[in-house]
Subunit: 250 residues, 2 copies
DNA sequence: TCAGAAATCAATCATTTTCTTTCAAAAACA
DNA sequence: TGTTTTTGAAAGAAAATGATTGATTTCTGA
């Protein structure tokens, strides 16, 4: 049985029942348990279902999603690995700040759920955070339509109310002289303020951000640690990317 | 039986009966007592129910809230007409407060988009507001998972930053003596504060809310105008409903 | 009101089930 | 053919489960 056939079968079954056991799928498809597990992992990454211990469950909200492109771009995969690395830095008891933005959003899946407090200005993060029952605070202020981020004077004041163990930021440019930059002046101010309220600041950035400079400066390089995918040269001239953390200190 | 299956079963049972005994659940799910206890602990942490000696009890407020899904189409239609009436009160240049809740959400479609400013604590309203390019401000604070509303101490302070021409609120109970009530004390405080910051306050409520009393008092009847569907008797003993506005003054 | 009985509880541990990781064989592909 | 992708099997790790223990709460009857 071909891979896409199995996937179709699984998706069809999960449209009928809210939960399917792995053993059911093994019997139905006559594939091995390993294969089914791999299928479920892929389908979960594509946001088609949710894995649960013993099987898979239907996603709430996405009852029928007719035209959904398989997410397999290399870039997304890199983002996810960077995000996962960052999420692993969060420990029980931490209070953390999550910046708006798609890279940071990928972190949410990997965050521990117990005994952490999240503060965010990213409206797009809220469904996932609440879904995972993570204690979440939103800062107040103007809701910027384009990026779904909370910004503005009110946001700065609202941020002042909190202190963080760790703060995770997205940026658009990383440059030795110009430091971290982002196109929107107001967003830069929020990021700046969040950094100043955190004990440790992390910037998440894939390799495309390096040597870029955009309009508004956030901070100098040494003011945050960068979590990125460093490209490493391997034998035979092949490159593979490896998520590692690079810390620039003053 | 998979863990989430049991959880669903438990939640379903507790929607029917306000209290379930552990032994019932053991018999029903054919799991051990230990497992059921663990399930209840988890579900309590997720704020889905409350453990009591011998079993589990339904949460207050969860009572008339089967997850916002089951609304009779008639009821929804009434809500929409009430919401439309309310939205027509908003004029260009107004700054308005929109409370969290499904009735208020229906207003968004009918709001004018030009030259109005919206402040809200309802996270579920944001996609629609931003979609319509309405200038939107969110108040900061704790994001309550069950209702997707911003509440808490921070929210009150955040609200203080604003003043409104009109404020639109949802309530759960309307009663001559007890005034407007809602199940959550914290949400009541937010509604109260929003009212105090507005020149005109409106409560949106369909006829099912009348003579109801829930836990936390928001205000006396005369402090807001009620927008509701009054039932009017027509010829031949037929009833039709007509959306009208009823103002109670002191 | 009190003491004893019964029921319920949290905590712990051994067992079972499920998961992830790894590796090599098979299949698909160029 | 050589290379990549998919697959299945196996081993060790992690999670879920059920039974047991002793503590706590509730019930019962004087």
């Amino acid at each position: 049985m071909l891979t896409p056939e199995r996937h179709q079968l699984i998706l069809q079954l999960i449209k009928e029942k809210p939960i399917v056991k792995i053993q059911e799928l093994v019997d139905l498809t006559e594939a091995s348990e390993s294969t089914i597990r791999r299928d479920l992992t892929l389908l979960e990454e594509g946001k088609f279902l949710k894995r649960v211990h013993g099987g898979a469950a239907r996603l709430r909200g996405k009852l029928q999603e007719p035209s959904m492109v398989e997410k397999s771009s290399k870039n997304l995969h890199e983002k996810r690995r960077i995000a996962q690395y960052a999420a692993n830095l969060v420990e029980e008891g931490d209070s953390i700040y999550l910046d708006a933005g798609s890279t940071i959003q990928e972190m949410i899946t990997f965050l521990p759920t117990k005994d952490i407090v999240v503060v965010t200005n990213g409206l797009m993060h809220l469904p996932a955070l609440l879904e995972r029952n993570i204690e979440t605070y939103v800062i107040g202020g103007y809701a910027k339509p384009k990026t779904n981020a909370i910004i503005g004077r009110g946001a700065l004041g609202s941020l002042e109310q909190y202190r963080f163990d760790k703060c995770f930021l997205g940026v658009n440019g990383i440059h030795p002289q110009s430091g971290y930059t982002t196109p929107d002046q107001e967003e830069a101010m929020i990021k700046q303020k969040a950094m100043s309220l955190a004990r440790e600041a992390y910037v998440l950035a894939d390799d495309t951000k390096f040597s870029e400079i955009t309009f508004a400066k956030i901070a100098d390089l040494h003011e945050a640690a960068i979590i990125t995918n460093e490209l490493e040269e391997e034998s035979k001239g092949q490159y593979t990317s490896k998520t590692s953390i690079k810390v620039v200190t003053s």
